[in-house]
Symmetry: C2
Subunit: 338 residues, 2 copies
């Protein structure tokens, strides 16, 4: 491997400028020299030094990913898989911006500037507004996933949460359910709010009345789903919901625990629908009917939008809404006759 562009130039009998031009696709090089240079490059397996390229002021071809949720979020791997595809297509490298590294004095925004990171994708709950304010003001191109933050150089991507909820409810409606409850997530969060909105809209479309006492609150977790379901089960039997849609799979699994502990069965007595389609959903018994979010598409799209933002100064505030899919498994059954 040639150590640098000078070695290649020497071997090809041209100047470094010419080699550089060939490498960067300039058309002001004769076909003959171009071929000669390319041959040497191939032979010597020369690869330009990325630091030098970045230094000289052009592209660093580096994107960052920053998680506010911690690494254990079940979607991290899928998002990354999706990003991988677009990263490869566009020729970017990905640097992991660890939450641990940053604080008030040294934000990830500054780190990105120092490392010449060209753009970042942010995923998670909105937890530290100070960072985001700085980020938006910095002009560093950024794409948020599941947070509706926009700015001159920032946009976001999210699943179609409202449509997904409508879909769940219309499916239950087809199964003749009329008493459909909802276990909401943190309503202050972006997805929590949208899923709640979607529940109401879904009921409306299905021609079902909205009942305050059919909404229980959770924080997306299994335990909170369990308690939420228990509060729903306190309704008089005749009023009891025959189906429950949940803000998350973990929450749905907790709800199923509660239903069972109350001596009822899923889906015999109560049908349950989750949200997310995490790995656990297809591995529990009965396998969970749920909404699948296309995190691969979201990751890919995030990088694509980021690239546009970076390449095109005029491209502002992009957003994308990714469709979801209802995955029918074993936790829903037709409602018993009323």
């Amino acid at each position: 491997m040639a150590t640098n562009i000078r070695d290649v130039a020497k071997a090809a009998g041209v100047s470094v400028a010419t080699v550089s031009k060939v490498l960067n696709g300039y058309t002001t090089v004769s076909q003959k020299t171009k071929e000669r240079v390319l041959r040497i490059v191939k032979e010597t397996r020369f690869q330009p030094n990325a630091a030098a390229r970045a230094l000289v002021g052009r592209r660093s071809m580096t994107l960052g990913i920053y998680l506010t949720t911690g690494l254990t979020h079940p979607f991290f791997a899928s998002i990354l898989s999706g990003m991988e595809l677009a990263l490869k297509a566009k020729g970017y490298d990905l640097i992991y911006l660890s939450q641990l590294t940053f604080n008030k004095d040294y934000s990830f925004v500054r780190h990105c500037q120092s490392r010449n990171v060209e753009g970042v994708v942010i995923f998670g709950f909105q937890e530290d507004d100070a960072y985001f304010k700085e980020l938006l003001e910095s002009g560093l191109p950024s794409i948020f996933i599941d947070m509706d933050i926009v700015g001159q150089r920032a946009g976001y991507i999210s699943s179609d949460n409202v449509d997904a909820m409508c879909h769940s409810i219309s499916y239950l409606r087809e199964l003749k359910h009329r008493r459909i409850a909802f276990i909401a997530g943190i309503v202050e969060s972006y997805v929590g709010r949208l899923r709640y909105d979607g529940y109401k809209k879904g009921l409306e479309i299905a021609g079902l009345p909205f009942r305050e006492d059919y909404v229980a609150h959770s924080i997306f977790t299994r335990e909170s789903g369990y308690s939420a379901m228990n509060s729903l089960l306190e309704l008089p039997p005749a009023e009891r919901p025959t189906a429950v849609v949940c803000c998350s799979d973990m929450c749905a699994i907790g709800a199923i625990d509660a239903i069972r502990d109350a001596g009822l069965s899923v889906p015999g007595d109560i049908s349950v629908i989750g949200f997310d389609d995490i790995e656990l959903a297809r591995n529990v018994t009965p396998a969970l009917t749920t909404i699948r979010q296309d995190m691969i598409a979201m990751g890919r799209k995030a990088v694509e939008l980021l690239d546009e933002l970076i390449v095109d100064e005029m491209f502002a505030s992009p957003t994308a809404i990714v469709p979801t899919e209802l995955i029918v498994r074993d936790t829903c059954a037709p409602a018993k006759e009323e």
Copy 2:
């Protein structure tokens, strides 16, 4: 934010060399100038350009992670969490080396050279020897996780697989089990082989005979665990194992499916122990008794060893074996009287 070291030098009324010395902790700077420079650095929130630093030939402070397993491996997040800790402590950044990006003509080794990556951690099954050969020859410091590859500038980390198996068996022995079967993983793989060895050693320590017909083979997956267990269940009832240790949690879950489908119960009729302690293990019913691998420790240790390898030219072929822990949940019960 000062754009470069010259601005800082100007503001502090010193030369760029002095600023550089302060920034790099040289002691040949008077206390007074040092303080002045530091004050300006703080005020202007100056951060040295990483590309320039890398270019000038010293450290790039970048490590890479390369997975041969794909992103969906359940340990990826934990390994990364562990790495995060050490990354922060040592001041490295992490770049994700996507399998997709590389091929015969352009290996991740070359990419690392071009990006000035100082070292890599490799995780997964040994699948592409060509890469590893090139890697070893390149002299790029590398640490493998769960693959016993060593070289002048390469070492590895793994759980204490043998000890873990001994632990499982001794636990079952305490529960009075004498007919303990094993569902092996891919025996050609590093962990597959070691766990098999551990099973034999565990039996020996427990004073139990090794029986060929108590070993079934799988490929670590749920489906293969299911078939493996079925073959074990074909033994005549009096000979049937009362306990099964498995090469992985997924495999154990498959085995439990098979036991149930045969009309038997876990742990009533047959006790089951997994390996890994993936998230699913505590979420299935009954919750799985299993061996927990400390992937956080492995990730952290990987970066620490890598750092030593990078910093100390003489530090060769490091290895580390990380202890495991038996997590007792609900899939083991005392053996029925014989």
